[in-house]
């Protein structure tokens, strides 16, 4: 049986200073858990976005809970630039480790395999590479002389946090085609999941469901959070709440507007 926690107990598993892996807006963002984390007031989080983020990272940054973010991009998509991310960057309050999407996937893949690094094409001559003191360039040992290739260290987050459609009572989590959630979980020391529902069947019993499952081997705890990705959309279950996202985008342009939005969002969800 999987450990089932309430939201506050779930986010209590995210220690201050944790390196926290979070998925992109399209892959299942645990927004209800994020609001619980905001209510608790985490400190010094080091976010790894897989490979990008939006509202979730922006709110955590706006609340002053993030010291570092490794990211390929933070944006509110159709609702424009992520305002708190942008403001924190310009003020120098936030350490930004710029990366590129496939580098995040490659770093997680190295961690999944328990190897120290992964090579990746591209990157040569970019300022993304120039900024990364932790990346290396080497000659392809199997190629002809002069075939330079970048090596990226394994990304090993402390915690992966995401939202999924369903889990069974054993803690098997159905993630469907969002296999990057599995990579995040494989690479992380612990994985915390919110789900829309707990189902009575064993998701591993049939190949039809097992193919889309993150097995319980990787899952630390599960919490039911109905509409847990709101106001972001979630697979075919609900679309993004564009009105709410527009409201956020407008409010978060100023420190004060963000503070008021946050207070309202946390009160309503309480």
């Amino acid at each position: 049986m999987i450990e089932r926690l309430d939201l506050d107990a779930l986010v209590a598993r995210i220690p201050d200073g944790a390196r926290l892996a979070i998925p992109a807006d399209y892959a299942g963002v645990a927004m209800e858990a994020t609001r619980a984390l905001l209510r608790r007031g985490a400190r010094n989080l080091r976010l790894v976005t897989v490979p990008t983020s939006g509202l979730q990272a922006d709110m955590l940054i706006g609340a002053g809970m993030v010291v570092e973010i490794e990211t390929s991009g933070v944006t509110l998509n159709e609702h424009g630039l992520a305002p708190r991310f942008t403001a924190a960057t310009k003020s120098g309050r936030l350490r930004i480790v710029d990366t590129t999407c496939p580098a995040v996937h490659a770093g997680l893949q190295a961690a999944e395999k328990g190897v120290p690094f992964m090579p990746l094409r591209g990157l040569l001559g970019t300022d993304v590479l120039a900024q990364r003191k932790d990346w290396r360039v080497t000659d392809n040992p199997f190629g002809e002389r002069g075939d330079a290739i970048a090596l990226l260290p394994a990304i090993k987050p402390d915690i992966a946090l995401f939202h999924a459609a369903r889990a069974d009572r054993h803690g098997n989590v159905w993630i469907g085609r969002r296999r990057e959630l599995a990579a995040m979980a494989h690479a992380s020391a612990a994985t915390l999941v919110t789900v829309e529902e707990i189902v009575e069947i064993d998701l591993m019993a049939s190949d039809q469901t097992a193919a889309g499952v993150l097995p319980r081997l990787y899952v630390g705890a599960v919490t039911v959070a109905n509409r847990g990705a709101w106001p972001l959309g979630f697979i075919d279950l609900y679309p993004a709440d564009d009105r709410e996202l527009a409201r956020y985008a407008a409010a978060a342009r100023t420190d004060r507007g963000f503070a008021e939005y946050l207070e309202g969002a946390l009160r309503r969800a309480a």
């Binding site: 490979p51 002069g146 290739i149 564009d242």
Partner: protein, 250 residues
């Protein structure tokens, strides 16, 4: 039928450039390229495979987000659209910062997949609707993705064109230089030159970008606008407001 809007002209122009491609991907915050890819797909009788980032309906992958990049690394992705906070005359793209990296004057969202896909996708089409000296600069202040690479760098892809709200430039990879190809209706060779911060080649007489035909326009306003309502609802509502009633009735 009313005449094509400036954005419909761009959609048709971009779609023409990816005709015949088998696998096309569209990245972040790119509604016009997304509409173009959907138009080209509609015209391909189902031959074209289109990925639109953030769309659930237009996701041809079964192995998560990394499949886009892994397939590109193998040479399976034919075309990709890329925007830029800044783009310079050597087709270098900046999606990160203007000014110092750690204390920038401007911060853009980030490089996304550009630092990799620019190297691995044979046909990268740069697209930025805003055509101004703020965007089209002499030299980008941060290179998310370089337009060209020195010999010896493994590179199977790169920029082929730059499409803006004013014109289309083609890119010569050997020379590392843009050439003006066509100007959109209402522009002149001089107006384009005045708004461009980098130098480029231009023919003595430049022709006007071909407007979408009646068939293309019907497709854009019908099937494409409906498909766009899923991936880019805000854009679709703004660009094709008359479809609101239709969409609400679905």
């Amino acid at each position: 039928m009313t005449k094509a809007s400036p954005r419909e002209l761009l959609i048709a122009a971009l779609a023409r450039r990816i005709k015949g491609c088998r696998h096309v991907a569209v990245g972040n915050a790119s509604p016009i390229p997304a509409a173009a890819a959907l138009l080209a797909r509609a015209q391909s009788n189902g031959a074209m495979i289109v990925y639109i980032l953030g769309s659930r309906a237009h996701n041809p992958y079964g192995d998560g987000a990394r499949e886009l990049f892994d397939s590109a690394g193998q040479g399976r992705l034919d075309a990709f659209f890329l925007g830029g906070g800044e783009i310079d005359g050597q087709a270098n793209v900046n999606l990160v910062t203007v000014g110092e990296h750690d204390r920038p004057q401007m911060r853009f969202p980030g490089s996304f997949g550009s630092a990799y896909l620019y190297f691995t996708v044979p046909k990268v089409i740069l697209f930025r609707e805003e055509h101004s000296r703020r965007v089209l600069v002499p030299r980008v202040s941060f290179v998310s993705a370089p337009g060209t690479s020195p010999p010896g760098v493994h590179r199977t892809g790169g920029p082929s064109a730059l499409v803006t709200g004013r014109c289309i430039f083609s890119f010569d990879r050997a020379r590392g230089r843009f050439a003006l190809e066509t100007i959109h209706p209402g522009q002149t060779a001089l107006s384009v030159r005045a708004e461009t911060g980098f130098d480029y080649d231009a023919p003595p007489q430049v022709s006007v970008t071909e407007a979408p035909g009646a068939g293309e326009l019907r497709l854009i306003r019908g099937r494409i606008s409906n498909e766009m309502a899923e991936a880019y609802p805000v854009f679709a509502r703004r660009e094709w407001p008359s479809h609101d009633a239709q969409a609400a009735g679905r």
